[in-house]
């Protein structure tokens, strides 16, 4: 097993690096209570704005909360949003995309709707939804998913349209296979690989969108320690307490980088012809 890992690393060093980094982040998020953290919401007004030290590794914020604990717990929020949006938008996009690829009249209507949604920049789409609803983790996930779905639908639709013309699908139809069975048995398996890559990129961009939304006050509620929230609270303080921005910023960037590297690696592995170019 160790040798297999070494070979994989030699072939795709950056992808393996990204995968390991992501695993570390996920492990930290799960094990947050046991990583020498304290309650991320515990206020301590006498210990406001302490710079990083042996006692407070990443310092304390304006309410005296321990920034290290908030950053470690913040990994839970970012990763939850990223994974949830990636899965939801992939599943929804897959279902809608298969439908548009096979039913002509749905295609005409649905693709116009998708074109419209796609022409609203993602952050603005999410802002205009979040402004109407209560700030909550579920609403953030829903708002970001809605802006990612059209891209998945487009991808699946183009895959289905080209697969539909393939001889093996024609053969299945000629043999009397029904539409539903053709979709599940012959089309679906061939969409998995491209969707996996697309899903990874959605994972990365959803984490950035969540941080942006929280940063401008349209994201997760203030009582959840997300990386965007920690940085938003430091907006007026960054000149005297730059570490409040620096630590969550570094963790967010590293996690997104890890996911992006993993996505690039998977894309290269699945399409070696493209690997040289990208």
């Amino acid at each position: 097993m160790w040798r297999g890992f070494r070979d994989a690393f030699r072939r795709h060093p950056t992808a393996i690096l990204g995968g390991v980094l992501l695993l570390v982040m996920v492990a930290a998020a799960i094990a947050a209570p046991w990583l020498w953290t304290v309650d991320p919401q515990a206020l301590s007004p006498v210990r406001r704005l302490k710079p990083p030290s042996g006692e407070y590794w990443f310092g304390t914020d304006m309410l005296g909360r321990d920034v290290y604990s908030r950053v470690v717990y913040g990994a839970r929020v970012s990763l939850t949003v990223g994974i949830a949006v990636a899965i939801l938008s992939t599943v929804l996009g897959l279902a809608l995309g298969m439908l548009t690829g096979f039913v002509r009249w749905i295609d005409a209507i649905l693709m116009r709707v998708m074109d419209g949604l796609m022409s609203i920049p993602a952050v603005l789409l999410a802002i205009s939804l979040m402004a109407l609803t209560q700030a909550s983790l579920e609403n953030v996930i829903f708002a970001i998913t809605l802006s990612e779905v059209p891209r998945v639908v487009r991808l699946v639709r183009s895959l289905v349209l080209s697969l539909r013309e393939q001889p093996f699908v024609e053969a299945a139809t000629a043999a009397g296979t029904g539409i539903a069975r053709t979709l599940v048995r012959h089309i679906l398996p061939n969409t998995v690989a491209p969707l996996l890559v697309q899903g990874t990129y959605i994972f990365a961009s959803a984490m950035i969108t969540e941080a942006i939304l929280s940063f401008i006050g349209a994201g997760t509620p203030p009582n959840i320690p997300s990386w965007g929230n920690v940085m938003a609270e430091a907006r007026s303080l960054f000149q005297i307490a730059g570490y409040l921005i620096l630590f969550p910023g570094i963790f967010l960037s590293l996690t997104v980088l890890a996911v992006n590297l993993l996505g690039d690696g998977m894309r290269d592995a699945l399409d070696p012809r493209l690997a040289r170019r990208m």
Partner: protein, 313 residues
């Protein structure tokens, strides 16, 4: 070709129709009564009811959508809940800094990213190529406001070369204007640069492996002539496409960048509107930016016929 332009122009109508319907539906279900805003604090219930009837707020959904579109066509974007002022006027007051920021960013990023991609493709596999690709991956991964704060900490707080925040109109002189634009443009442009550099490199690699490039080199053209005259010209269609699509990244980034750098533009207006739950402003900005995005991509589509004379419609 003229027929193609008309057809392409008409194709934007359903797209903008969906956007308008989306924005209107959100306004329709948003809490808060425009009639109460207009009536003011000392209005009676009858006053508000009369204003509601006058504004057509009692009408059914589709009639109100029609009225809203009609008002929109006359430049009426509704009334801000918080200030009671017309949204069109509020946006008009804030448009200059946003246009200045996006135009500066566009010019600088395209001027830097395209050569980066060209050189990376030309020197493929060397350290130049690797650093361009490294920059590209990092640019995709670091959120715009983190870059913004890192730039401020380095160039404004530590070195003291550039102002921390704020905006100066170009009327106050070139240097005050530019010195307030450098850091915001750099922060906003990074992800866009990463995208354009990456696509430029990928398309150039494709083009450079074609036979006519070998022919051009064989007949003794200089590498500049080959790269710019033969290769880049033929790689321009995908590059321009990505420049158009990437505008969405810029628009999303503007909201954040203006917040970090305290630039009084449309992005800042939007963030203030979020805090005050001023729905008409948020929806008007969404509509406006989506419209700009659609128009830019329309222009991009039309530019194909000039960039590549083989494209005929």
């Amino acid at each position: 070709m003229f027929a193609y332009f008309i057809r392409r122009l008409l194709a934007t109508i359903p797209v903008m129709g969906v956007v308008a319907l989306f924005v209107f539906s959100l306004l329709y279900i948003s809490p808060g009564d425009p009639a109460a805003v207009i009536a003011g604090d000392i209005a009676t219930a009858e006053d508000i009811a009369r204003i509601r009837a006058k504004l057509g707020l009692d009408e059914p959904y589709m009639v109100r959508f029609g009225n809203w579109l009609w008002a929109l066509a006359h430049g009426d974007l509704g009334v801000s809940i918080f200030t009671g002022l017309p949204v069109a006027r509020l946006i008009g007051q804030r448009i200059e800094p946003t246009v200045a920021l996006t135009v500066c960013t566009l010019i600088v990023t395209i001027a830097l990213a395209v050569p980066m991609g060209v050189v990376a493709a030309w020197k493929v596999g060397t350290w130049i190529d690797r650093s361009v690709m490294g920059f590209s991956v990092l640019g995709f991964s670091i959120p715009v406001f983190v870059i913004a704060y890192l730039l401020i900490m380095l160039f404004s707080v530590q070195l003291g070369w550039l102002p921390v925040q704020g905006y100066r109109s170009i009327n106050e002189g070139w240097w005050p204007f530019l010195s307030h634009m450098i850091l915001p443009s750099a922060a906003l442009g990074t992800v866009y640069m990463a995208l354009i550099a990456r696509i430029t490199r990928a398309t150039m690699l494709d083009v450079l492996s074609q036979d006519y490039i070998r022919t051009a080199q064989a007949k003794g053209l200089s590498s500049n002539q080959v790269l710019l005259g033969h290769a880049l010209k033929n790689a321009s269609v995908p590059i321009v496409t990505v420049i158009g699509i990437g505008i969405a990244l810029l628009i999303s980034g503007v909201v954040v960048t203006e917040t970090v750098f305290a630039i009084p533009g449309i992005g800042r207006l939007t963030v203030d509107a979020i805090l005050r739950r001023d729905y008409p402003i948020i929806q008007a900005v969404t509509l406006l930016f989506s419209g700009v995005y659609v128009l830019i991509n329309l222009a991009v589509d039309m530019s194909y016929t000039f960039l590549d004379p083989r494209i005929r419609y």
